[in-house]
């Protein structure tokens, strides 16, 4: 995979330390009487890989769904910072605007369009740009808009991401017929096609290594590092500690809906509270 170049514009070679791309502040989410997420604040740095970890039921996926607009937080704020612009308040945006703001996501249980080919999946991800080129659909039906050129460009973007995820051979196969690992990669490629050709500013991955064998996890780690180096910051939930510790710049740990640690992988690994949360403590039901 290393010989295929990642096709995204290199924005800044070295990000200045702790420039935020995503800011989560005092995020609280209640479902009826249950407080799934309680006053959680953290930040994901630009040009970094931030991992969100924690035992099962810690509220990671809930935080994730609040960030990506699938839940509306009970209180608190989620802001996406962009260079030279005011931050976008993600928690106020309707679901489909969040991707347009530059935040793309994948799902824990893969959500591809199984009856569409891999290539079509990547083209659907570029819907908004393509739709703008069709002149409200009417121009393209009559064949009088710049749509063909836009589609060629979209296919080029798709091809580059297919190459980056080693799926070029399977471009015309239906997504549902791909092997599991390939589906995972295709979902990442699809997320990276959002806002193509620049790609999304922040890529949110929900357990990207789930169900992958060690070799595939290794490859995934490399792919994520390449994505980061190409200018897209990453926020991921992951259970595979090998992957997390190897690639993350920063690790945020949650337990029982609260933030218990936030630091570099080495710091987090040595944190007593984290160890207690993972191994279980006397008075807590683990």
């Amino acid at each position: 995979m290393s010989e295929t170049a990642i096709p995204v514009l290199r924005r800044t070679p070295v990000p200045d330390r702790r420039e935020m791309i995503l800011e989560v502040s005092s995020l609280t989410m209640r479902f009826g009487g249950l407080t799934a997420v309680n006053q959680v604040s953290f930040a994901a740095g630009r040009g970094e890989i931030t991992a969100l970890i924690g035992p099962n039921g810690a509220g990671k996926t809930t935080v994730f769904n609040c960030i990506t607009g699938f839940y509306r937080p009970t209180s608190g704020a989620v802001r996406l910072h962009r260079r030279g612009e005011l931050p976008v308040e993600l928690h106020r945006l309707p679901g489909h605007r969040i991707a347009r703001a530059g935040l793309a996501r994948t799902f824990q249980n893969i959500r591809l369009f199984p009856g569409m080919t891999a290539l079509e999946n990547l083209l659907v991800a570029q819907h908004n740009r393509l739709m703008a080129a069709t002149g409200w659909g009417i121009g393209a039906v009559l064949g009088i808009s710049g749509y063909p050129r836009a589609e060629r460009e979209a296919i080029e973007s798709a091809k580059r991401w297919l190459a980056a995820t080693r799926l070029t051979e399977r471009a015309d196969d239906p997504a549902g017929a791909l092997p599991y690992g390939a589906q995972r990669r295709l979902e990442i490629a699809r997320a990276m096609c959002v806002n193509a050709p620049d790609g999304p500013g922040l890529l949110c991955l929900d357990e990207p290594a789930a169900g992958l064998n060690p070799r595939e996890s290794e490859e995934l780690g490399k792919l994520l590092l390449e994505i980061r180096d190409s200018g897209t910051s990453i926020l991921l939930i992951e259970h595979d500690m090998g992957v997390v510790m190897r690639i993350s710049n920063r690790v945020v740990v949650m337990d029982h809906g609260r933030l218990i640690a936030d630091g570099t992988p080495a710091e987090v690994r040595a944190d007593a509270k984290v160890i207690a949360a993972y191994l279980g403590e006397g008075d807590e039901d683990s």
């Binding site: 990506t68 607009g69 699938f70 679901g95 489909h96 605007r97 969040i98 991707a99 347009r100 793309a104 996501r105 799902f107 959500r111 591809l112 369009f113 199984p114 009856g115 569409m116 080919t117 290539l119 079509e120 083209l123 659907v124 991800a125 570029q126 819907h127 908004n128 393509l130 739709m131 069709t134 659909g137 393209a140 039906v141 749509y147 589609e151 296919i155 091809k159 070029t168 471009a171 015309d172 196969d173 239906p174 549902g176 017929a177 699809r190 997320a191 959002v194 806002n195």
Partner: protein, 460 residues
């Protein structure tokens, strides 16, 4: 499972070496024994269950004796017979399943592949046949009228296919848009004297408007709920038309709707210079109008097909299909689900409106009776039978269904039975419709059809 070839090999091995290495044969034997044993055990369990039920239901019975007192009668023999029947029936069923599972599964999609190959040629062939139909000798008024009817349903099927087949939104009230189109044309033409060609786009626009109006409340609904609301919408439109007597004439309908003209030339039989026949110096004939109507509906349905095919290869069409496959993923990719669904409703409704305007001008009389639920059901069956999303499948299904309806007219009331049975059989053999495969909208290499099993059906 062993293939028949293996069995023959086993036999050959045994013949060659009667005393040597009977392992493989033994394996097979054991496997068969295990299967039989399992079948017997399962049948015994079923028989025991039957016994538990029948011992009280059949075995014991209170009867009134000759002197009026109740006494308990036992019927153990009956219970034994019933349990025996259950045991035997279950055993046979098990053995049948086992033998069916043992046989190699039939190659799936062979018929689909054949249809796909034939489909390449079938589409153009059907189109050519449709184009020359009025000039084939022996095609009279009746056949042309039937052709017009079939093409109307082809057009309606293609229109509904956008909503149901591509966007995956189950719409049971499609006839409402057909009615809106028909009444739009009828009212505009009779009240304001507008010509067919002015009214046609207006009817389409009005139907699309109603499509959006229906779309808004149902956006949040899925599956069954969506189906029920669209069904209700269809009924509401019909009931409003029936009861708003001052505007629509109620159950009496609207008569005297102007016939379409050929660029201002009417199709009257007078032979004047301002008639079609007079202008072109032809013998005045009532056939001209029928042929004209035939080509009109052919052109309208081809327009529907062309627009659909173009849209499918564009972001909007792809977004519809993506919506059918997975709505949540669409949202994560920044697709505006509301607008995408509304556009599907509006464009589908627009073609329904066009078809309605054509229906009104062809009949020159319309009443609410033409827009009952059964029409929606027929159009939906055409789409489902044809294969959701497949243009060719829908055309074939419309021809079979509407043509078949006419063909079996002699069967009278039995025809619905034949029809229902045919539908059941087709759904058993081809549950995803005649053409269930999906053709990708774009490909780097050669486009290969996608198996129906992978393609989503949409859940609203």
């Amino acid at each position: 499972m062993k293939a028949p070839g293996d069995r023959a090999e086993d036999a050959a091995l045994r013949a060659a070496r009667p005393r040597g290495e009977p392992e493989r044969f033994g394996d097979l034997q054991r496997e068969r024994q295990a299967r039989l044993l399992h079948a017997i055990r399962d049948a015994a369990v079923a028989a025991a269950m039957a016994f538990g039920l029948f011992v009280l239901m059949v075995g014991l019975r209170t009867d009134v004796g000759p002197s009026g007192e109740l006494f308990l009668r036992t019927r153990w023999a009956d219970v034994a017979i019933l349990c025996g029947i259950v045991f035997a029936g279950r055993l046979l069923l098990n053995l049948w399943y086992a033998s069916r599972a043992a046989r190699a599964p039939a190659r799936p999609g062979r018929l689909a592949a054949a249809l796909g190959a034939a489909g390449q040629a079938l589409g153009p062939a059907l189109l050519a046949a449709a184009l020359v139909l009025p000039f084939i000798p022996g095609i009279g008024r009746y056949e042309l009228d039937l052709g017009i009817l079939v093409l109307t349903y082809v057009m309606l099927g293609w229109g509904l296919n956008i909503v149901v087949g591509l966007a995956g939104l189950l719409d049971l009230g499609y006839v409402a848009f057909y009615a809106v189109g028909a009444y739009s044309y009828a009212l505009l033409a009779t009240s304001f004297g507008l010509s067919f060609w002015v009214c046609l786009p207006l009817a389409g626009m009005l139907a699309a408007f109603w499509g959006i109006l229906l779309g808004f409340p149902v956006l949040r609904l899925r599956g069954d709920y969506l189906a029920i609301v669209t069904l209700a919408f269809g009924e509401i439109i019909r009931i409003v038309i029936t009861n708003w007597v001052s505007l629509t004439g109620g159950p009496n309908g609207i008569g005297g709707i102007p016939r379409p003209t050929f660029f201002g030339l009417s199709f009257s039989l007078s032979g004047e210079p301002d008639t079609f026949a007079g202008f072109f110096g032809l013998e005045p004939s009532s056939q001209h109008r029928v042929i004209f109507l035939y080509y009109l509906i052919l052109a309208l349905s081809l327009l529907t097909n062309w627009v659909t095919l173009r849209l499918r290869r564009q972001p909007l069409g792809r977004a519809w299909e993506a919506l059918r496959e997975d709505e949540i993923a669409c949202r994560a990719l920044g697709i505006n689900i509301r607008n995408t669904k509304l556009s599907a409703f509006a464009i589908g409704a627009m073609f329904g409106g066009f078809a309605g305007a054509f229906f009104a001008t062809r009949q020159s009389f319309i009443s609410p009776e033409s827009f009952t639920f059964i029409e929606s059901a027929i159009i939906l069956s055409i789409v489902v039978l044809g294969g959701m999303g497949s243009q060719l499948g829908v055309a074939i299904a419309a021809t079979i269904m509407i043509g078949g309806f006419e063909l079996f007219r002699d069967l009278e009331e039995w025809r619905m039975l034949v029809f229902g049975a045919a539908m059941v059989l087709i759904m058993v053999w081809r549950p995803r419709g005649l053409v269930g495969t999906r053709t990708p909208s774009v490909a780097l290499g050669k486009k290969r059809d996608i198996d129906a099993d992978l393609v989503g059906e949409g859940r609203g």
